[in-house]
Every structure is written in structure tokens, then in C-alpha cells.
Amino acid sequence: MSNQRKRLNGEREEDDEEDAEGIGEWERAYVDDRSWEALQEDESGLLRPIDNSAIYHAQYRRRLRILSAAAAGTRIQKGLIRYLYIVIDFSRAAAETDFRPSRMAIMAKHVEAFIREFFDQNPLSQIGLVSIKNGVAHTLTDLGGSPESHIQALMGKLEALGDSSLQNALELVHEHLNQVPSYGHREVLILYSALCTCDPGDIMETIQKCKKSKLRCSVIGLSAEMFICKHLCQETGGLYSVAVDEVHLKDLLLEHAPPPPAIAEFAVANLIKMGFPQRAAEGSMAICSCHKDVKIGAGYTCPRCKARVCELPTECTICGLTLVSSPHLARSYHHLFPIAPFDEVPTLSSLNDSRRKLGKCCFGCQQSLLGAGNKQGACVTCRNCKHYFCLDCDIYIHESLHNCPGCESIRRPKSVSLMEE
């Protein structure tokens, strides 16, 4: 929205438009955003941004509440083994400079961060990359589990030309994803910067085809909301969002990293064969099956066919067995059993004294919970262990750690339970 407003302002400006594009981002930030108003002095006279962390936290909590309201006590089945295709639109609209330095540079940067985060949270899943250029869709990389190869292929050639065709991309992705085993969740994430799509046929038919193959298509738009993208996402059950600036784009992308809820009728319980390879001994020599080269030492041996692979998680090239290690599974596990949101503690200073006695330090980082003056600052508390945490620890616990330190440090007499409910 602000991008559009900027552009409209540029059209009505009396100065030449070409120059306005060349003037740096910093001047724009002065004129439009007035960045000096976002600063204020704190007690010691140093400048710091206006305390918007409370806003950030409120937003975050709202998000969480929505998610857990949807769960409502029941366990949601989520697709842990995801086969995701990222479709990036490299048509001429991607060369627009409303995102600095250009849309495709920003897209590439954030997709790289997304890929890493994705494999972090979903070690059992695979990603493939598709680009749209000149109205034709090309496969940049096939489905694979190694982040490096994807990132290399993406950063290889960044150029934007021609029209964009949504139908061609969907057809290509549909073809690829049809070969995926049925226990895997098929997803497509489209980063669309164009405003129209030039298709060779009827795109509605393609959308119906995708819907039938249980392909979940989500779109992140970079220019404006388009009806066809909204329709696609509604039909297939995906999410449609439009990014207004760079930070927002990053947030939207990262929203797709955790696994989405599985559609009930499609998620049939299955037993999947997996291998847990042993690490090869130091000094052992073998021809590695992924590089076709002699490697010494560090590597893993497939338990079924004894072929050597370099890194995990991966699929054995010889026998096709999914090879993972136990930490990978553990990391996927916490999506199924999310940690319950912490309760907010009201910050009234006229609370009874017992409260004030307890909440001196955050249990997680041991920093003082008292805010300005001697009043109690904003803090949260865990329902189970009743410890207090500051806002930053709250975010960290829920987004990265997925375990409450207070609950973990409770000594259980007999066995240590793995899960917290």
C-alpha cells in the first residue's frame, strides 16, 4: 500500500520522475516515514526507538491465540513430510525497483533465508525450485533435501524478462508433484510479482486439476491483490497474502515454514519406512553415492544397501530409503505437540504484595522484570510451572526453543517425560 502511494505521489510530483527513482532510500525515509519521530530519549539520555516491542508482542500473542484457538484442545494433524515447490516469478515485473534494489534480489535473499529455516523446522521435507521467465516455467532444481544446492541454483542467474504465466507454472509443478508418494504433503508456494498472467489455456481447469491432486497452493504477491491468485488459494486451501514492504515479505515467507494443518480427508495414517544410518568410521574410504567421488571419513552408511551418503536427511540414491537421524525427528515432533501459550500478567501496580515478591527476575534470562520506576514491567507466566518470563524469552521459547525451561527443570521422581501438555 505504501508502495502504491509512493508511486502515485511520484506521478503527481512536479519534478522529473526519473530522478525521484534515483534518489536514495534514505531520502525517501526522511520525506515519507519521518524516521526521527520514531525515536525518543530514555532516562540516561540515549536515543532509542519508541517502545514498540509491546506492540510486537501483542501481535505475536494474537497470532498464537488464533492458532491455539483453532486447535482448541484437539491435536491437529500436520504434514511433517512436506514436498514443497517454490515458484518464483522472474517476469519483467520482477525488475521493478519498489523493493530495494529490485524485487528479484529481495525475493532471492528472502527465499534463501526461508529455505534454511524450512529445513530447520522440517528436516524430513524436500524443496524444489521453479522459475517463470518469458511466459514459460523452468525447473531450477528438482525435489531435494539439501539447502545448499537450491540456494546455489537460485543465486546462479538472476534476470527478469518477459511475461508471467501462472498456468504454465502450475502445470509443471503438478507434473512433478504427482510423482510424490501419497504420505507426503504436496505444497506450492508462489512468489508472484506480476499483475497479470498470460496463459495458453484455461487456468480454471488447471486449478481444478491441482485441487484434485491435493496440491495446496499458497501465493505471496508483491504488487497487488489479484483475483486469480485469491481464487487459486481458496480452491486449494492455501494462504494468499500481499507484501507491503521488505520486512512484511520476510514475515509472510516465514509464516510458511512451520507445517500447515493437514486436511482431514487427505491425511491418512501411514507407516513409512525410514533408515537411521550409522556414522562411518574415521579413515574409511568409500565412493559417495551423491558426488560419485571417493571420500575419506565423515559420512553415513545406508542401513539397507550400505551405500555411502554425505549428509542427512536425504534419500538414498541406490535404494530410495529415507535416511534421517533422531534429532531431525525430534525437531519435527514439536509441531505436533505445541507448547501452550503463556498467560499475560496484568501490570497494575496496585496488585497484592505477594505478586510483587515473586516476579523479580525472568526465569529464562535472569534479567530484572521491573520496568521504569519500581513498577512491574510486562511479563508472562507459564501455566504449568508458574514461573515468570519476560517478553523476549516468551517469544524465544515459543518460536525457537519449543520447550518451557521452567517445566523442564521440574524434577520428576521416576521417569523424565518427554512431552509437556
Binding site: 508511486r7 503527481r12 498472467t197 496463459d199 484455461d202 480454471m204 504488487s223 497487488a224 489479484m226 483475483f227
Partner: protein, 591 residues
């Protein structure tokens, strides 16, 4: 949902209601309680139709001792169909929640092409609408169906609770007689999308006569003479009976059966004198002579060199001095023609339209001394070299046609999305509303960004003033504006121009300078034309282009077919560009 407004329980078929809909219903109820007329303005898209329908039907249910009928008038057939669909939804909801007492009968009245069920008549619908009506009449004229039931439509009007029809059924005196007779005074009449109602009223009482009308009228007269002689030879008794009737001064209306209403008088009912037809036109052959003299005079008038404008009184006096036809004779032209055609049993109404029009003209000229003027134009404005003379009887006073409606019915509701300035209407239509209110649309966020541009990007002022229209700088600036907008706005863009000629010339210039070509790279281009079929197909393709993501631009004309009554909602109308301000065409003599 069901809620109460003061003492009326209102059944609203949706779960959510806008605050302005609720206020609208409250004001409407007040007007109904006061048994007066009202003017309500509420923006399009806020659910006016359903608010109206649900309040009035609920009002009727709550006042069981005074059953009121609802007459809902719309302007176009698609609007009528939409209203009927909403009514059906409402009806289902009401029956579900209130039981059988909520059952209502509602009928839609339209030109027979749209709603007639007789298959043979529908087959004739490929031709023009008038011939359909004629074909229908062939079947329903009383002497053809002498033994069958009277016209089903009129029968149903008596029993229906809700009638949906077009404006003509209430405003045009030629057609209004059929429906108004069957309606009681306690009916509520609603005129929806009534911002142009003054135009409709004026058109209902205006007549245009051209050269080919007069030629057609001459042919009709010859045919009438032939029929007359044929009848004289075979069945002279009928003609004599007619003469006797006229001598005795029996009111023609009362004698003719109610189904033969297709030859209705163009003047308003209260202006038709209850008198005997004057002596010089009682005999059929005399009447035909009089008509011929009238036609000759009109032909002479059409040969005038200059534009002339005069009042009806002076027109009639010059007619009297030149052709010897008096004003009283003119007044009865229509009735006499009707009686003659009935006597001669003529059913091909479409053939006799020209002579009917001439008689309309004569009757109106003779009846009204004020509020009309007769204008002769030797050629049309745009083509000064082509001689296409036109004689117009145009009505100035919009209140004439609508006065009977206001006098007759208890509550008349005039509602529209754009009734500004709202205090103009009471003066224009000369009535006193008890409620006159304007409502605003409530929106949860800023979703409209209106802008006015007076300069192009190169700082030249842009305008569609007549002298600036062909200025290449202006054309280029408009083109640049369109191009830039088209490259940032997704899905559908609608552009309005002030007239067809302007639109065609500016698009031709854009085509030459390559702007149209570049626009086509971003979006497909569709144009409205004066042909209805072409425009409908263009609109259809425009919607398909917007749906499948290709994006499209639609060029149309303000006050054209598309501008009035086509919804460009959601992604079909992401941007609307109005090139210029559409002023009235003040150089037209009629206006």
C-alpha cells in the same frame, strides 16, 4: 434475523445488517405510518432492495386489518429479475420463520418478450418487441378469444401482494391504465433507481414525428380506407352502430371490454374530457379526411428551413387557420382512431404505429396548453448537410406524468443511490414528501481513493472542454495517464468518456500514437458500442478476462447502457477513470 422496529416485527433474511440499512428501514416505516410520500437516498450496494422488501412485507404482515399491496418499479429487466430473486429469498425465509401466514403472491410484469410463456409468441421474439406484443394481441384480443378467460395478467394483478414492473406501467399514460385500475389506494409504490425519473416522465409524454413517420401514416390511412370500404360493402351495420354510439356520446372507454387496452389514450386520465366526439369526425370517412389534412399540414411544417420553437397554443391556432382543424377535433383524434380500428377489427398493431403516433401527437397538442412546446428542426445537429427534419412535441413538466401516481396512491417511495441534490426532486415533481433523507455507506476501512487530476504529468492542463478536445497534448496526457494506471492496477479497469463521438476520436488518436498498443500489452481492451448485442458480448469477455487473470480495460460512455445498471464489483472494477465531466448536451433544442 428477526428484530423489531417500534411495533413491527421485521424478518430480514440475512444474519448481518448494515447500520444504514436499519436506519433506512426506520425512516421508511415512519413514512408508511404517516401515509405520505418519501425520498430516500442510500448508496448502491448497501442492500436497498432487500431492506425495502423485507420492511414492507413485514409491515403488511403486522397490519393485517389494512392489507397493503406493494408495487415495485424498476428501470430495466435485469433489475426486475434481481428484485424477483431477492423477493424469493425473502419469501422462503419468512415462510420458514413465520409460517403460512407469510405466504405472498408476487408477479413480475414486463414486455411480453421477456416474461410471456406462450411458445409461439416467444418464437416471434426474435423480431422486434412491438411485433411480439402484436402477436400476443392476436391471441388475446377479445374477438379472437371471445370464449376464453380474460387476460391472465390483469387477473393476477388483482390478487397479487407484490407486483414488480417497470416504470412505464405506472407513468406512461398509454400503459398505465391497465394496472392502475386494479390497484387499491392503499398500495405502496416504490420507484427504485429513480434518479432519472424526471426524464422518464418527460419521455412518457413526448412525441417525435419524422418524415418516414408521415409516410407510414399515409400508407396506414390508405389501408384504413380500403378496410373501411370493404366493411361498408360487407357489414355496414357495424359502422352504423359505431356512428350511433358516437352520436349518443357514450364514453368509448366504458363500452370497450377491459382486455382491449392496447389502444390507450396518450393523455392523462383526468384530462380526457368526458364529452361526445365532435360531429365532424363521427363518420369514418370524414375522420379519414381530417387525418389526411393533418398529415399534409405536418409535411408542410417539416419542410421548414429554420429551427422553430413554439407553444402548443400557437401551433394549434396555425393549424386551425391553415388546415381548418379545430382544437376540439384534435383532442379526440386518438379516441376516434381507436374506435375506428376496433370497428374495422384491425389487429396488426405494429403496422399502424405511425398513424397512432401522429394521433398521439395531435391529441397531446390539442389537450395541453402549458408545459409543452413544439420544436421543428430541419436537420440533426451533427450532420447539418443531411436533411432529416424532425418535429418534436416535448414535455417540459415532469410532474404531469407522475401527478396521478402521487394523487392516487397512499405512499410513494422514491429511492436511489444518487439523489443529489435531494431537495430538487420535490420541486421538480411537485409533491410534498414527509420523509426526505440521505444515508451514507459505512465502511470498516478506507477502501476508496478518489482523486481529481487537472494537469497531466508534463504540467499541461487537461480538460474535455469542447475547444480542447482535439489538442494533441491533452490526448497524449490522457493516454499516458491510462497507460500508467493500467500498469499498476490489477484485474479490471473501467474508463468513462463523455460521449460516443469523443470516445471514438480519442481512441483512434491513441491507436495512431501507439498508446493503445502498449495498453494492450498489459491488459486487453474492450469498447462499448451503440449496439446492445456487441456491448453485451464485450462485457462478457471483459469479465472473463478479469476472472482468468489476464486483466482488461473497458471503455464506455457516461450515461450509456453500461454506466446505468451494470455492476462492476470486486475485481471487475479496481479502478474507474472518468475522462471529463459529463455535462448535459445543452445545444440540443429539445433540452
Amino acid at each position: 434475523m428477526i428484530f423489531k422496529i417500534e411495533d413491527v416485527t421485521v424478518c430480514f433474511p440475512y444474519d448481518y445488517i448494515y447500520p444504514e440499512q436499519f436506519e433506512y428501514m426506520v425512516e421508511l416505516k415512519r413514512a408508511l405510518d404517516a401515509k405520505g410520500h418519501c425520498l430516500l437516498e442510500m448508496p448502491t450496494g448497501t442492500g436497498k432492495t432487500i431492506a425495502l422488501l423485507s420492511l414492507i412485507t413485514s409491515y403488511r404482515l403486522s397490519r393485517t386489518d389494512f392489507p397493503i399491496k406493494l408495487v415495485y418499479c424498476t428501470r430495466t429487466v435485469p433489475q426486475m429479475e434481481k428484485t424477483l430473486a431477492e423477493l424469493k429469498l425473502l419469501h422462503d425465509y419468512q415462510v420458514r420463520h413465520l409460517g403460512d401466514q407469510a405466504k405472498i403472491l408476487s408477479i413480475g410484469l414486463s414486455s411480453r418478450k421477456n416474461l410471456c410463456v406462450n411458445p409461439k409468441v416467444l418464437a416471434a421474439a426474435e423480431e422486434n418487441r412491438d411485433s411480439v406484443d402484436a402477436a400476443c394481441r392476436k391471441r388475446t384480443a377479445s374477438w379472437v378469444r371471445a370464449s376464453e378467460n380474460p387476460n391472465v395478467q390483469l387477473y393476477m394483478v388483482k390478487f397479487a401482494n407484490v407486483i414488480v414492473c417497470s416504470y412505464q406501467y405506472l407513468l406512461d399514460p398509454k400503459v398505465a391504465g391497465t394496472i392502475s385500475k386494479e390497484l387499491q389506494n392503499e398500495s405502496v409504490v416504490v420507484f427504485d433507481e429513480a434518479h432519472n425519473i424526471d426524464n422518464v416522465c418527460i419521455d412518457a409524454l413526448s412525441v417525435t414525428v419524422r418524415r418516414f413517420t408521415l409516410q407510414g401514416a399515409n400508407r396506414n390511412l390508405n389501408k384504413l380506407r380500403q378496410e373501411f370500404y370493404r366493411f361498408k360493402a360487407s357489414d355496414a351495420g357495424r359502422l352504423q352502430a359505431e356512428y350511433n354510439r358516437l352520436v349518443q356520446g357514450l364514453a368509448l372507454r366504458g363500452d370497450v371490454s377491459g382486455t382491449d387496452q392496447w389502444l390507450a389514450n396518450p393523455a392523462l386520465p383526468q384530462d380526457i374530457l368526458e364529452e361526445a366526439v365532435p360531429g365532424n369526425i363521427r363518420r369514418a370517412e370524414h375522420f379519414v379526411h381530417v387525418l389526411r389534412w393533418l398529415l399534409q399540414y405536418l409535411e408542410a411544417r417539416l419542410d421548414a428551413e429554420n429551427v422553430e420553437k413554439e407553444s402548443t397554443v400557437s401551433f394549434v391556432s396555425s393549424l386551425t387557420s391553415r388546415a381548418g382543424i379545430e382544437q376540439k377535433t384534435l383532442k379526440f383524434c386518438y379516441d376516434r382512431l381507436r374506435s375506428l380500428m376496433l370497428t374495422l377489427e384491425i389487429t396488426e398493431a405494429d403496422e399502424f404505429l405511425p398513424i397512432q403516433r401522429v394521433c398521439d401527437f395531435a391529441t397531446l397538442v390539442g389537450t395541453y396548453a402549458r408545459g409543452f412546446s413544439v420544436i421543428t428542426e430541419p436537420y440533426e445537429e451533427r450532420m447539418p448537410h443531411v436533411s432529416d427534419p424532425i418535429l418534436q412535441l416535448s414535455c417540459h413538466d415532469a410532474s404531469l406524468a407522475i401527478k396521478p401516481v402521487f394523487d392516487r396512491f397512499q405512499s410513494v417511495v422514491i429511492t436511489s443511490g444518487t439523489l443529489s441534490p435531494i431537495d430538487l426532486y420535490p420541486r421538480l415533481l411537485s409533491f410534498n414528501p414527509v420523509v426526505s433523507r440521505s444515508f451514507k455507506m459505512s465502511m470498516t476501512r478506507d477502501c476508496i481513493c478518489p482523486m481529481v487530476l487537472t494537469r497531466g504529468s508534463d504540467q499541461l492542463p487537461v480538460s474535455t472542454k469542447f475547444d480542447m478536445r482535439s489538442d494533441p497534448g491533452v490526448v497524449r496526457n490522457y493516454g499516458k495517464l491510462l497507460l500508467e494506471m493500467v500498469s499498476i492496477v490489477p484485474d479490471g479497469v473501467v474508463c468513462f468518456f463523455i460521449s460516443y463521438s469523443y470516445m471514438e476520436s480519442i481512441i483512434a488518436t491513441w491507436n495512431e500514437t501507439g498508446i493503445l498498443h502498449e495498453t494492450r500489452q498489459q491488459k486487453l481492451v474492450f469498447l462499448e458500442s451503440q449496439d446492445a448485442v456487441e456491448t453485451t458480448s464485450a462485457l462478457d469477455n471483459y469479465r472473463r478476462a478479469c476472472d482468468c487473470g489476464r486483466g482488461a480495460v473497458f471503455f464506455s460512455v457516461a450515461r450509456g447502457k453500461v454506466a446505468e445498471g451494470i455492476d462492476f464489483d470486486r475485481h471487475y472494477g479496481r479502478l474507474v477513470v472518468m475522462f471529463g465531466v459529463p455535462f448535459q448536451y445543452t445545444l440540443s433544442k429539445g433540452k
